[in-house]
Structure formats: C-alpha cells, structure tokens
C-alpha cells in the first residue's frame, strides 16, 4: 500500500498543469447544448490541440500513435484536466475510448493506418451501433443481418440509442453473420461509414429534450469486407477486448466532476440557508464519505490495472456504486434548488448570487437518471457481480 507518485509522474503532472493553464483561457466559447454540429466542431478543436501538444490518446499504446502512458499517468491526466476545467472528450468518446482501442488491438495494418490518425487528431468522429430495439441488456441476441455479396457485406436491420449518430463519420457496428440463433458465436464487428446509401438516421429526443441519440435504419447498406475488424463471427470477443481497455479510469472524469458538484452544493446550501438543516448537512457528509471512498477505490483499481492489466473486483463494483451515489448527489441538488428546480432554463437570482445556474443542476439531475441504464443497467451489473465475483448460480440464458 504505497500511494506516492514517482518523480516522473509528478513532473508529468506539473507539465500538464502548466500547459492547461496556458491553453484553456484561449478556447472559444462553448456551443449551446443542443447545437450538435457546433459541439462536434468544438470537441474536434480541443482534440486537435491535445494532439499538437502530445496529449492525444494519453492512454493509447505507442504503436497505435498514443502516448503509452501508464494507468497511473492516465489517472493524473484526467485528474488535472478536471481540476483545470478542461473540455470533456464529448463527441470524441466512441472513437477515443472504444473504436480506436479496438482497432489497435484487432485491426489490420491498413485499418490502423486509415482510421487511427483521424481519431487522434480530431478529424473524424465515431458512434457506436450495438444496441437494437430488440436487444439491449441481452446484446448477444442482436438481429441486424449482414450477408456476404462478393467483397461486400449487405447489411439490413436497425440500431437504437446510437449516441452522436447525426454528427458521426463512422459507426462501430455489430451485425449477425452467423445463423439466427448463434448468439455470441455469430456476430461480426464492422466499420460503417455513415455516408453510405441506405442509412437513415432518425433522432430520438432524450428526457432532457436533447437529440443526443438516434435510431438507425439500415436498408441493404453495402459495407466493404475489408472494413471487418477481426474474423467473421468473432465480433463478440473483439468487443470484449475494448471493455477492459479503460483499465479502471473509465469514470474518473465523471467522478471528479461529481466531487466538484458536491463542493459547489455545499456552497449553495450555505448561501441559501439550507445549511441550517441538520438533515442536509448529514446528506452532504455522507456523500463526501462515499465520493472520497470511490476516489480511493479508483486508485486501487488503477494500481491493480497497472500491475495485472485489468482493474479486478473493484472495477466491477465501481460502476454499480458510482451510479447510485451519482443519483443521490443530483437528488440533493434538486432538493437544494427547491422550486427553482422547476425551471429548466436560467432563473435570475436562483441561488442568491447567480453562481450556480439552476439550469445546470437540473440538467445534471436529468442526465444522472441514465447512470443506472447506459453502459449496462445496474440490474445487469448486479448479476455480473453476483455471478462472476461471488460465484452464485447463473441466470438462464
């Protein structure tokens, strides 16, 4: 149990801190939350700056064009970015965190040369086409069909909840290449350019009123066979490779953001007088304990990943615990806002000083509702913990 950082890690931190202090004040104004082309451009601009400074793909291996930093440096990178208020990865998420790492691990040389550089320098944006109307938690039941026709796959079916589909250049697409009931054994992983004929994108509106995800209708879309990553019917394994990629740092940005939100709620409670309510103070105290605990757990996961390549038990319980605490945090925010929480747009004087805009807290509350759904629901996470860690009998499947 040694929680010190090495001199090299400390100097990585101080260089990064200095660089962030220099560039962040020069960033353009953030686009409106609903302006997706604007958000794409903003995220690309930030990614290009990271690229120029050598901070693109900090966590990517060197052979993929990344910095090859250790999980501990990744932790420092995310910690300093959050501390300085740097932009989030945003629409670059799928490319940088899923598609890119998958192509590094499983792609051909030609695929790596074609697709990796534009992810790193921000030129191209990706989306993820895994979920289908009939296949969510039970992803292995997916039915979007790909039929070989010479050197193309002809793909028909539909995908749903595809985040950022409208502004994406490519989609990491899971398709059925095996028999209908082949489940895990008949899935392939394809790269689908989003401008191919036969793709219809129908935006879906979230409960926040945003069109951040969409439904994709695929009607005989012709995807070159050379866009397949991994062997035919081996796509399930290819997908799993990425899942262990984040090595314990997947939620660090969100966690630190939550910790900052908790601090600002303390300030809000003090300004509005809610602090006089012992129940409010105790909720803040208990959340402080939980988030500090999650931070400690993150460090443990990261050091396990540095040692063994995967974050271990803590990695699996983290998502479960973080999702629940994240929701309790925003529930507190709404309680503190009181009736100002009924206004989803800015309300002058909502907190006495206009420091914490009510609309941001309301937005954080709404977004947090998806924490227990997206990327594996909490029920499914509990099944995983119960079965893979505690060794309890499996569900029927």
């Amino acid at each position: 149990m040694d929680l010190r950082y090495t001199d090299a890690e400390e100097s990585f931190r101080s260089d990064l801190r200095a660089w962030l202090a220099e560039v962040l004040p020069t960033l353009p104004a953030k686009p409106a939350a609903t302006d997706w082309p604007g958000r794409r451009a903003y995220d690309q601009g930030w990614q290009a700056q990271l690229f120029a400074a050598g901070y693109a793909g900090v966590d990517w291996p060197v052979e993929g064009g990344g910095r090859g930093a250790s999980p501990i440096e990744q932790l420092i990178f995310k910690e300093e970015c959050e501390r300085a208020g740097a932009p989030y990865v945003g629409t670059g998420f799928v490319g940088l965190l899923h598609a890119g790492p998958t192509i590094i691990a499983e792609g051909t040389l030609a695929q790596r040369e074609r697709f990796l550089p534009p992810i790193l320098n921000g030129d191209e944006v990706w989306c993820q086409g895994f979920s289908e109307p009939g296949s969510g938690s039970d992803l292995a039941s997916l039915r979007t069909r790909a039929v070989r026709d010479g050197d193309h796959y002809v793909v028909s079916g539909s995908k749903i909840w595809t985040s950022h589909a409208e502004v994406a250049d490519h989609c990491e697409l899971l398709v059925r290449t095996g028999p209908e009931d082949s489940r895990h054994k008949g899935i392939s992983w394809l790269i689908m350019p989003m401008d191919l004929p036969g793709i219809e994108i129908r935006p879906l509106t979230t409960i926040a009123g945003s069109t951040e995800f969409a439904e994709l209708f695929l009607d005989e879309v012709r995807i070159p066979v050379e866009n397949r990553v991994g062997e035919e019917n081996d796509g399930w394994r290819v997908t799993m490779v990425t899942l262990s990629f984040e090595r314990g740092t997947g939620f660090v940005g969100e966690l630190l953001e939550s910790m900052r939100l908790l601090r600002s709620l303390t300030g809000l409670a003090q300004r509005t007088g809610a602090w006089g309510d012992a129940a409010v103070r105790k909720r803040i105290g208990a959340l402080t304990a939980s988030f500090d605990g999650l931070w400690a757990l993150t460090k443990r996961n990261v050091s396990e990943a540095a040692r063994n390549g995967i974050p271990g038990v803590g990695g699996t319980v983290f998502k479960l615990a973080y999702s629940e605490q994240g929701q309790q945090l925003t529930e507190l925010a709404m309680d503190l806002l009181d009736r100002a929480g009924l206004a989803a747009s800015g309300l002058d004087g909502a907190d006495g000083q206009g420091e914490l805009p009510n609309e941001e807290l309301v937005d954080a509350w709404i977004k947090s509702i998806s924490l227990t759904i997206a990327a594996g629901t909490s029920q499914v996470q509990r099944n995983i913990v119960g079965e893979r860690i505690l060794g309890l009998p499996k569900e029927k499947s």
Partner: protein, 341 residues
C-alpha cells in the same frame, strides 16, 4: 503508486489469519458467550506475543514498527473472527502507553457528553485502566488515564453483544491522570482507523457466510443464490465492503505518509489537518455502514435460520453496533464530514 498489499503485507495477512485459526476459532470464542471473562488469557497472550499490541510502536521502542496500513490488514482479520476484547484501544494506545504495548489490556471511552445515558465500559473485567478521550469537537483537550479500580462500575446484566461484556460507569468520572504531551487527535484517528478496519473484516465475512449459504440452500428446485432478489442483495453488500475497504486503507496511508497527505490535500484544496480528519471520518462512516447493513443483509439471506442464535451472523451484527457506537457515530461523522466538504 501501488494500492495493492505489498508482499510483506500479504505475508502479514496470511500469518495473522493462520494464527487466529489456531488461537481464536469462532467456536471457541462462542463458548464464552455472556461471560464476564470472554477474553481468554491464553489467546490474548498469543496475540501479544505475535505483536498485535505493539504493532504501531517503533522498533526503537521495542515494537514491531509497522504503520496503520499494516494495522488495517491485521484488524480486518481480527474482525473476521470476531476476536473479543479491547483490541482496538490497546493497540492504538500502545505508541503512547508502554503498558498497553506490553499487552496489558486498556479501554478507551469517549468523554461523556453526547447522551444522557451513563458511559459504558467494554470488557471491565479484562481492562487494567481506561483512557477517557475528549470528544471529537474537543480534540484539543487532554486524554486522562483512570485505573479501572478507581471507577464506580456496575456490570450490565446482559449486553447486546454476548462477546462484549459491559459495565456502566457512575459520573462524574474520577479525575484521573492526564496523558501529557500526547497527540490526542492522532490517537483518536488511530482508533477510528483500526475500528473501521475491524468493521471491514465484519462486512466481508458476513458476505462470505451468506454467499456460501445462498449456494447451498435450495428452494423452488434451485439454489436461492440463483434468484436475483438474493443475488442483488449480495452484490450490493460486496460493493459496500469494497468501497469501505478502499476508503479505510487510503485513510491509513494518509495518516502514515505525510507526502501522500500533502498530495491529496492539494487535490481537494484542504489543509493536511482537515484532510486527515476527512479521510478517517469518511472511512469509519463507510465501514460502519458496510458492517451493519451487510450483517442485516446476511441475516435476510438466511431466512429463519438467520434469526437463530446458532447461526453466527447476529454476532457480527451486534459487534458492528458496538464498534459503530463510539469514536464517532455515523451521525457525528456525517456532521464532521459536512464541515470539511
């Protein structure tokens, strides 16, 4: 940074687990339920011999010279087997009280103040003396040492935890001898971390017991652990243990290593003094919660069996309440944390 146990810490964990298997098997401990002398002198001497009480005493003073990080490893194991006796107090006092380092049992109680009820002393027949510790909000005051013989103590006929006999103390307490020159805050923090580590041991053990039961007990033609209602209770319990363990170990390292405390204080924009309190308070809050909630969960998973005296889970629940009731209750800790948020 490496949060994992070092090889030495792993060896320590295995060593203490093996020792406890030999000298404090739960069946033996249980044979003393509701007795005033539940602490078996032979087992206690074996713990002293193994260095449990002199664990935190520097080698130059004849101790083992370990830090709290190792302390959490040892106390988690003690929690797992429900080792009886004033273990946390004796080990935490040892660096400032040579008699404790030698294995003479000592108790620590919070200075009276919080409730109207009389102060309760744990293991009155075992302890030679008691240290009265100023309450968290008065940590600048001195701790005082009172020989148990000077106290007016009335045994409690039946204690909730049959392995923690109690005596109620008449107030005001005798004046006692001030423990001069000791860092009262550091003493309280040591106690909190060791108590929290014991709770983590409890939290982990009850999940292990209940998981075994859920694999073996069948209803409706299948093991009850296959039902999500049971599986999910246990998954949440495991998450509570892991979260608490990370927090407790992190707090221990923060107390052990000033460089780590400085780095972490910088991250959270706190002073190192504030950071230490925040780390130990958060750790104990999560550990108390994990132990109590997991023990209740484990009873639920056992159904009617869980409500029997025979199944040991209730003993873990009762011990978790003993540990949660002093050196910062969940409510006091939440207040302290809010002030440091």
């Amino acid at each position: 940074m490496d949060f994992d146990l070092s090889d030495d810490q792993r060896a320590l964990k295995d060593g203490i687990a093996t020792l406890l298997d030999g000298v404090l098997p739960l069946e033996a401990t249980r044979s003393a339920e509701h007795r005033a002398d539940v602490v078996d002198p032979t087992a206690w001497a074996a713990l002293a011999e193994a260095g449990v009480f002199s664990l935190l005493v520097p080698e130059s003073d004849g101790g083992v010279g370990f830090g709290l990080a190792e302390g959490t490893v040892v106390f988690e194991e003690l929690g797992r087997v429900l080792a009886p006796g004033p273990l946390v107090a004796t080990t935490a006092l040892a660096p400032v009280l040579p008699a404790a380092a030698e294995g003479i049992a000592h108790a620590v109680i919070d200075a009276p103040g919080r409730s109207a009820a009389p102060p309760l002393l744990e293991h009155p027949a075992t302890c030679a003396a008691v240290v009265v510790l100023p309450r968290i909000e008065q940590v600048a005051e001195e701790a005082v040492l009172v020989p148990v013989g000077d106290l007016s103590a009335t045994p409690v006929e039946r204690s909730l935890d049959p392995l923690t006999p109690l005596a109620s103390l008449a107030t005001p307490l005798p004046v006692g001898t001030p423990l001069e020159g000791i860092d009262t805050a550091a003493l309280r923090q040591r106690i909190m971390v060791l108590a929290a580590a014991t709770q983590v041991g409890i939290a982990g053990e009850v999940v292990a017991i209940a998981t075994e039961y859920a694999k073996g007990r069948e209803q409706f033609g299948r093991p009850i652990g296959g039902f999500q209602a049971i599986k999910h209770l246990l998954a949440d319990a495991l998450a509570r243990t892991e979260l608490a363990r990370a927090a407790v170990q992190s707090a221990a390292v923060i107390l052990d290593d000033p460089l780590v405390a400085e780095r972490e204080a910088d991250t959270l924009s706190l002073s190192t003094v504030q950071l230490r309190w925040r780390a130990v308070a958060g750790a104990k809050l999560l550990a108390d919660d994990a132990a109590i909630t997991n023990a209740r969960t484990a009873i639920q998973v056992h159904g009617g069996m869980g409500f029997t005296w025979e199944v040991p889970v209730h003993l873990y629940l009762k011990r978790s309440r003993v540990l949660a009731s002093s050196f910062g209750t969940r409510s006091e800790l939440a207040d302290l944390l809010a002030a440091l948020a």
